[in-house]
């Protein structure tokens, strides 16, 4: 299956470290020093308690499929998904490097990084 051209993410200053880490093959989360909760997408200010005491932590890069949908036919098909990381945060992503028929809710997956169209690398997930 040929790779879909991935639009480059427009990194705003708050999230730039996330994309720089992605370029190095690391998946980052923001975690709150006040309430302890990790969150995604990453902000300076915690969406659970509004504390400004947030810091970057590296995620293990493993999790399970929460839901997914394959759109398009044949070579144009791609699979949008929500993956719940082992840290308890669910994020939007693509399931890649396998045929769509192989995907299932609950399936264990791990992060892989794919080149975008002229921008930062983008984290996606593939079955373990």
């Amino acid at each position: 299956m040929p790779e879909r051209k991935i639009p480059a993410p427009r990194a705003l200053p708050e999230s730039l470290p996330y994309w720089q880490a992605a370029d190095e093959g690391r998946l980052m989360l923001k975690q709150c020093g006040a309430c302890g909760q990790p969150h995604h997408y990453p902000r300076d200010i915690c969406p659970f308690c509004l504390s400004g005491d947030t810091s970057w932590v590296e995620a293990a890069g493993t999790g399970h499929v929460y839901s997914y949908s394959t759109m398009g036919q044949g070579e144009a098909a791609y699979t949008l998904a929500f993956v719940t990381l082992d840290e308890g945060v669910t994020l939007m992503t693509n399931l890649v490097d396998a045929e769509p028929q192989q995907f299932a809710i609950g399936q264990r997956v791990k992060v892989v990084f794919k080149a975008s169209d002229g921008g930062h690398a983008v984290p996606m997930f593939t079955p373990l």
Binding site: L12, P47, Y68, M71, T84, T93
Partner: protein, 406 residues
């Protein structure tokens, strides 16, 4: 402050067109405004409040007010996608109760179908002139580069279709809902649309027709999706004393609720929509229960949208929506809850890719006894209109409106 009884819907009008070649967006807004005024028996100078959402061009409220020559003392451009007009009715009732206006006009209109055809024609002309293929844009409006969440979404190809399909997949997993059950929602809409001469899809379809239509985004098929249409609609909301002076049947705002839902910092739960929050507020304000509702206009961008609202508004327990809609559960005269008797967005009209105004319009028709006789609910005096604007899986805003015929 309760909005129960604060205002009445005195005018409602749906644009007859479904493809607006040669008509501007503002002309469509003006057409529906005139239509609703005529329906109410009011004139332009009676309007002192105006409401529109992101489908209005230019500066929105001021641009439309300028075209129509309105003199206003209250405006509201609450934008939340297709559910906006349902929220506008509630906001108009609140403004009237607060003494900010007496007669509020709400318009929605657009021409995505004609615009797409024009973009495709331009691309074809450019291809012919340049000797190489030029593709028409997939989206008519570019995404907002300052929305911080988009960097974490756009690389993955979110489209409207897969952001609803992914909810359907999760619902099937958690509750055993089937594609056949979702198909029944389209079947019911098509049974109603056959009586609407303006509906885009008038042929009655079967469950098999839906299941066998091409897969758009697994597990949603082409017939699980709404139509794409041009046109629009308008509503006029008035102070009770004014409504009682008019010659139209009295349709009172009895309950209202609204709520946004988003990704909640990554604590995502796709098993419910924001209607689970807006619905109870509307029922509490109205002092009625889902069992009291005789007719429901439910936002039907996709079949799954309807299923989620049925559960979240309390018409059936969570997870039981599939059983509720199966075997004609939503067909007027046959099922337990007649819905979208104009054919809805699934078959009739989804103007400007926004289904909120047509939901309210058909509820008003039902309460006035002006729906098509084949789908009119007998002695309909309590109806609900519900909207989900935005994307079910990422961020959306629900609006719930309960209306009573006095």
């Amino acid at each position: 402050m309760t909005l129960n009884g604060a205002a009445f819907i005195v005018g409602a009008y749906e644009h007859p067109t479904r493809k607006a070649d040669g008509l501007s967006v503002l002309r469509l807004h003006a057409d529906v405004a005139k239509g609703a005024l005529a329906d109410a028996g009011l004139s332009k100078d009676d309007i002192d409040g105006y409401f529109c959402a992101g489908d209005a061009p230019g500066l929105g409220t001021a641009t439309v007010a300028e075209y129509l020559g309105l003199k206003l003392r209250h405006i509201d451009s609450t934008e939340c996608g297709g559910s906006a007009p349902i929220l506008h009715v509630a906001h108009a009732a609140a403004a009237i109760a607060a003494g900010r206006c007496n007669v509020a006009l709400i318009t929605l209109a657009g021409r995505p179908r004609a615009m797409m055809a024009e973009a495709q024609a331009r691309a074809a002309a450019a291809s012919a002139a340049g000797g190489k293929p030029v593709r028409a844009p997939l989206a008519l409006k570019p995404p907002d580069p300052d929305a911080p969440e988009l960097a974490f979404e756009l690389p993955y190809g979110p489209a409207t279709q897969n952001l609803y399909a992914i909810v359907a997949r999760r619902h099937m997993h958690e509750f055993g809902t089937t594609s056949e059950q979702l198909a029944w929602i389209k079947v019911a809409a098509s049974h109603h649309a056959q009586h609407n001469p303006r509906a885009m899809l008038r042929d009655v379809v079967t469950v098999a027709d839906v299941i066998n239509s091409p897969m758009v985004s697994d597990p949603l098929h082409r017939l699980d999706c709404c139509v794409m249409s041009d046109g629009g609609g308008a509503l006029i909301v008035a102070r009770p004393e004014i409504a009682r002076q008019l010659k139209r049947p009295l349709v009172m705002v009895r309950g209202t609720g609204e709520a946004p839902k988003h990704a909640m910092g990554g604590q995502i739960d796709l098993s419910y929509s924001a209607a689970a929050w807006s619905g109870p507020r509307a029922f509490a304000e109205a002092g009625v229960t889902p069992a009291d509702i005789q007719y429901a206009s439910l936002y039907d961008s996709f079949t799954i949208t309807v299923l989620m609202q049925l559960e979240d508004l309390g018409f059936c327990p969570k997870g039981q929506g599939g059983r509720f809609v199966a075997d004609g559960g939503l067909i007027s005269g046959v099922g337990r809850l007649p819905f979208n008797t104009d054919g809805g967005g699934l078959c009739n009209n989804h103007p400007a890719n926004r289904g909120g105004v047509t939901k309210v319009i058909e509820a008003v028709r039902q309460l006035r006894g002006e729906a098509h006789p084949a789908v009119q609910v007998k002695n309909c005096h309590l109806a609900l209109a519900s909207g989900i604007g935005g994307a079910l899986a990422s961020r959306h805003t629900a609006g719930t409106l309960i209306l009573e015929r006095l």
